[in-house]
């Protein structure tokens, strides 16, 4: 049954259902996401300074080791079963930073370990992150295309 063609009976029921349905506490979730996401970024910033002051990285080059370190932390927290609990509390706060991306890859890898390394881990590791990579790369391509065209036409 398609979603759009609702019978009067279905509409009537959905009104009753709406009355009882618990809504996501959006404002509360946003505040929690802001602080947890901010804290993760603060830790990331500290890691970045660590690489800049103790190793010879610059502001431009310290990004890569920082990302790797943050993903390593996310891996440990996912493996020890903590990251999903942080996720339930923080929502977007722990999903949006790079740690959330790491978590989506690592959790899928753990989940499908019992199906073997090739078809299980290999085949499923990117089942959540795959679409992020695909649409991330595609939107980067579109933006770069627009910029190139604007440059050719001498607008920028």
């Amino acid at each position: 049954m398609a979603k759009k063609n609702k019978s009067p009976e279905q509409k009537r029921y959905q009104q009753i259902e709406q009355k009882h349905e618990l809504k996501r506490p959006v404002v509360k979730n946003c505040i929690k996401a802001f602080f947890v996401g901010g804290t993760i970024c603060l830790i990331g910033q500290a890691v970045m300074y660590f690489y800049m002051y103790f190793f010879h990285f610059t502001e431009q080059t310290s990004g890569n080791p920082t990302v790797a370190t943050m993903i390593f932390f996310a891996m440990l927290l996912t493996g020890f079963g903590v990251y999903d609990k942080i996720g339930q509390f923080a929502g977007a706060g722990s999903a949006v930073p790079i740690t959330g991306f790491g978590n989506s890859v690592i959790s899928a890898a753990i989940e499908h370990r019992t199906e073997g390394f090739v078809l299980g881990v290999g085949g499923n590791m990117f089942k959540l992150a795959g679409s992020v990579i695909l649409f991330g790369v595609f939107s980067a391509f579109v933006v770069a295309l627009i910029k190139t065209l604007l440059q050719i036409w001498g607008i920028i």
């Binding site: 049954m1 398609a2 979603k3 609702k6 019978s7 009976e9 279905q10 029921y13 959905q14 009753i16 259902e17 009882h20 349905e21 618990l22 809504k23 996501r24 506490p25 979730n29 996912t78 493996g79 079963g81 990251y83 999903d84 609990k85 942080i86 996720g87 339930q88 509390f89 923080a90 929502g91 977007a92 722990s94 999903a95 959330g100 978590n103 989506s104 690592i106 959790s107 899928a108 753990i110 989940e111 499908h112 019992t114 959540l128």
Partner: protein
């Protein structure tokens, strides 16, 4: 024997000779821990996959129930079981190791009562002398089927439910000495109801109309009043679906005392266990009925109960294709034979 449009009555009174419930670590911390026969302290249960652990809990529930009935597997003619994994492999694999002729059932979370209704029908109509029926679910194996990976940090909405790690099984017989024993007296088979809801994180809201439909049909077919039962228990409607069902029933003129109207998904866990709206899964109603509720009946707390197990008949594929969620509910009444 058919009564009304969609109900069976069982004049030969099939006896629930024994029953057993098996649970996981999260259930061991729940409200009904003392009613489980076996509780595992680890989700892996010594197996190398969650699916094998899922098979194990059903095997254990069936074997324990047969043991408690003081029988052997050879005494049992048929086994009726089902679960939520693709192609119901845990139930079929359990049937392989148990070795009893087997009916595989799929009614999502309503499988427990689909099984008990059919088992009672077989016994009532001399199709067998002894059958065993059960249903099970395993949190990690089922979440893997229907949701994101278990360790993925997504935020579940307050309407989401927690899949119970549990199995319940019962041995149903044609025992002639019925006095004081638990017997099944009637069953109502539900029709598929779809009210157009499509959020897989709100199963209770989707399933409530099917529960109401079956309950209304039950009382109409059997010409009974809700006060006949000491307790009417739904399967896994949880915080959202349960009050909706009560409201729908009231609208149809069926006034049920809210004190006598419970839900397995709301009974199994403590308030401080973070399960959002409540428990769910094929093992939820099976473990609560075959463990807790039947124990309470044996103690004499309830004389007559009606269990209405509800199931959402979706698949991960169907909801990705934006299909709405069709739902079903089956009811079985269990009484202490006078």
């Amino acid at each position: 024997m058919l009564k009304g449009k969609q109900s069976w009555v069982f004049p030969n009174r099939p006896v629930i000779e024994a029953s057993a419930a098996v649970g996981g670590p999260f259930e061991a911390r729940g409200k009904l821990a003392s009613d489980f026969d076996i509780l595992h302290d680890d989700l892996w249960m010594g197996k190398d996959s969650y699916e094998k652990a899922h098979t194990l809990i059903l095997e254990e529930a069936i074997e324990t129930a047969i043991q408690k009935a003081e029988m052997t597997k050879e005494d049992i003619s048929f086994m009726l079981a089902g679960d939520l994994v693709n192609q119901i492999t845990p139930s079929s694999f359990a049937a392989r190791s148990v070795g009893i002729p087997y009916f595989g059932l799929f009614g999502a979370c309503s499988t427990s009562m689909e099984g008990l209704a059919l088992a009672s029908f077989i016994i009532n109509n001399q199709g067998a002398n002894r059958v065993v029926t059960g249903a099970s679910s395993h949190n990690a194996a089922i979440e893997k089927q229907f949701r994101y990976p278990t360790e993925y940090g997504s935020q579940k909405p307050p309407t989401a439910q927690w899949t119970v790690t549990g199995a319940g099984a019962a041995v149903v017989t044609n025992d002639q000495e019925k006095q004081g024993k638990l017997v099944t007296t009637s069953a109502t088979i539900g029709k598929v109801v779809d009210m157009g809801l499509s959020d897989p994180f709100n199963m209770g809201g989707a399933m409530a109309p099917s529960a109401a439909d079956t309950i209304i049909a039950h009382f109409k077919d059997l010409q009974l009043d809700p006060s006949y039962y000491d307790l009417i228990v739904t399967g896994d409607l949880a915080k959202i679906g349960h009050p909706i069902t009560l409201e729908l029933l009231k609208k149809e003129g069926l006034n049920i005392d809210s004190q006598k109207f419970k839900d397995c998904g709301l009974m199994i866990y403590q308030e401080d266990q973070q399960v959002q709206a409540g428990g769910s899964g094929a093992g939820c109603s099976a473990a609560v009925l075959y463990g807790h509720l039947l124990n309470e009946m044996r103690k004499g707390k309830y004389q007559r109960i009606l269990l209405v197990a509800t199931g959402a008949l979706l698949s991960p594929l169907s909801f990705q294709q934006k299909e709405s969620i069709p739902c079903i509910a089956h009811a079985v009444s269990i009484e202490v034979h006078p």
